[in-house]
Symmetry: C2
Subunit: 319 residues, 2 copies
């Protein structure tokens, strides 16, 4: 097959098709377990970003970019499947999780299957030489490392802001960075620009994660479509709470003794404006991201898509 060029919307539809093909590939028994995942893939933000980074002056991307975008989305799914095992989560975006539906055993294996499928998709790209510097397996390792660090810091109520930011940099931002990196390589920009794209990806990922952290303290279970258990109840310590603990250190000891209720936690975050603090932190990354965007000579279409994604990540914090 030739590495044909597609416009952005056509390419995005191809990614959806390709992702569904990978997920439902293999024998019926895998299809049965993972095909429902196509319904929970959501907006495919990483794929959209990747394609946008790959756009040329004529507004087209190569089919290789489609493959990378599909790989990134399938890898994202694999991490979600394994995440749900670790969090013992019953729901994800309002849907019953695979680990709840089919059991932990099946979920472990299906995650492995998807992980291998994602990496396999990358090996199928045509212009191998062009992507020599793109080490996808390394990104997979870094994401695993990020999760491991998050896991180790479960119920660590003394976690400091800078440590927390470095954890989400690994965990969430690595997948965004991978997307922007692959897209930039597909777009054939120079090395300096590629670095800027990677930075933009990392910052956007960090902002998205900080948004997510705020939602946990802002909204009710219903509107967030998240599992009933809050981050705090799962032992996950995020920035709004870290700030509250910083302001009121005696709460740390209470939390360590299991004497802090969910209600007290929410109250403390509110009192010390943990959400506002998190928003201000996100703002710093927002400005860095804008700087990076300005330094990259983007086309209008790229600016619209990547800038829009950045806005969404940041403004989402307000409501």
């Amino acid at each position: 097959m030739i590495n044909r060029r597609l416009d952005y919307e056509t390419a995005f539809r191809e990614v959806q098709k390709e992702t569904a093909k990978i997920i439902t590939s293999g024998p019926a028994l895998v299809r049965e377990y993972v095909s429902y995942l196509t319904e929970v893939t959501g907006k495919m933000m990483r794929a959209r970003a990747l394609l946008a980074c790959a756009l040329d002056e004529q507004g087209t991307v190569s089919y290789d970019a489609v493959r990378f975008a599909a790989a990134v989305e399938v890898l994202h799914l694999a991490t979600l499947v394994h995440d749900d095992i670790m969090d013992d989560a019953d729901l994800r975006r309002g849907q019953v999780t695979l680990q709840k539906k089919a059991g932990k055993r099946t979920a472990v294996i299906c995650g492995d299957f998807l992980l291998a499928a994602a990496i396999r998709e990358v090996t199928a790209v045509q212009e191998q030489d062009r992507y020599k510097s793109f080490d996808f397996s390394k990104y997979v390792q870094n994401i695993a490392l990020g999760e491991l660090r998050q896991n180790i810091n479960n119920r660590n109520f003394r976690l400091q802001p800078f440590r927390y930011l470095s954890i989400i940099d690994g965990k969430t931002a690595a997948l965004f960075e991978a997307s922007y990196h692959a897209g930039a390589l597909a777009g054939a920009t120079d090395e300096r620009t590629q670095k800027l794209y990677r930075k933009l990806g990392r910052y956007t990922g960090i902002i998205f994660q900080l948004t997510d952290d705020c939602i946990d303290y802002e909204n009710s279970t219903d509107s967030a479509l998240k599992p009933v258990q809050s981050d705090f109840e799962n032992g996950v310590v995020t920035l709004p709470l870290i700030h509250a603990f910083d302001c009121q250190p005696e709460l740390v000891v209470k939390a360590e003794r299991n004497e802090l209720s969910k209600e007290e936690v929410f109250e403390a975050v509110k009192r010390h404006d943990g959400v506002g603090y998190t928003h201000r932190t996100a703002e710093k990354y927002y400005k860095l991201a804008q700087d990076a965007m300005q330094k990259i000579g983007m086309t209008k279409e790229q600016k619209t898509i990547l800038g829009g994604l950045l806005e969404k990540a940041f403004v989402g914090l307000k409501g």
Copy 2:
């Protein structure tokens, strides 16, 4: 680095070093969790087989073969780590498992890390063109599929022999086939010979699995260094039991009603000589493997190593 050539024993020591390097790579926190795995890697049979397949007339192998062998061993470890989660196993070869030691969460992530590390090792081989037909990620997918099928058949007391054999063909034999396949490619033999090597690998893997199945019904916990729970107690139905059920179908209904004790199962397998039946099945694969070996023009050294491995797989059944 040049793709230097090494003799078999030097190459094997390099595999040990490379495997340890991969496992202990990355930040301290991964090292902490997985470094103990170097102690439980055992005899590295798959690596030995791979190197043997790659041997040339002069008794040397390329460094690429070393990389493949290390990748196969690390992948093997990754599957063990995830297997232990699924089996809820506390012990493996007399050592406390990672999932028991560090928890399921950590084990899921460390397995992912090792999986990515294994695939990454393969991408680092020098003679890329030579291994174009070797789809390592596809093998990873097949292994996952095999495990999924085994999992689905957990507590399926009506499993038929041919179905069981096709399951272990996927689960255990796929990794052996991958080893023999990569080795054959590194050895630069013609396509027909490569196919024979792959067959030899599959058969050897199946025989090893059948050995393992018998051990569960022959030995005490102590000598097998296996977890205290037997296959039957874990809902894993293997060939010795399948044969006993075939001979005495009324036991199936009893098992399905949870009315069959471990002792009754062992007694039934003994009465109907389930171990003997399994041994005779293994013998068929043993003969097919010998046929394949004869058709391959092997050097004396290759015959000694690969034949020795085959003998070990088969004779192990007797004691």
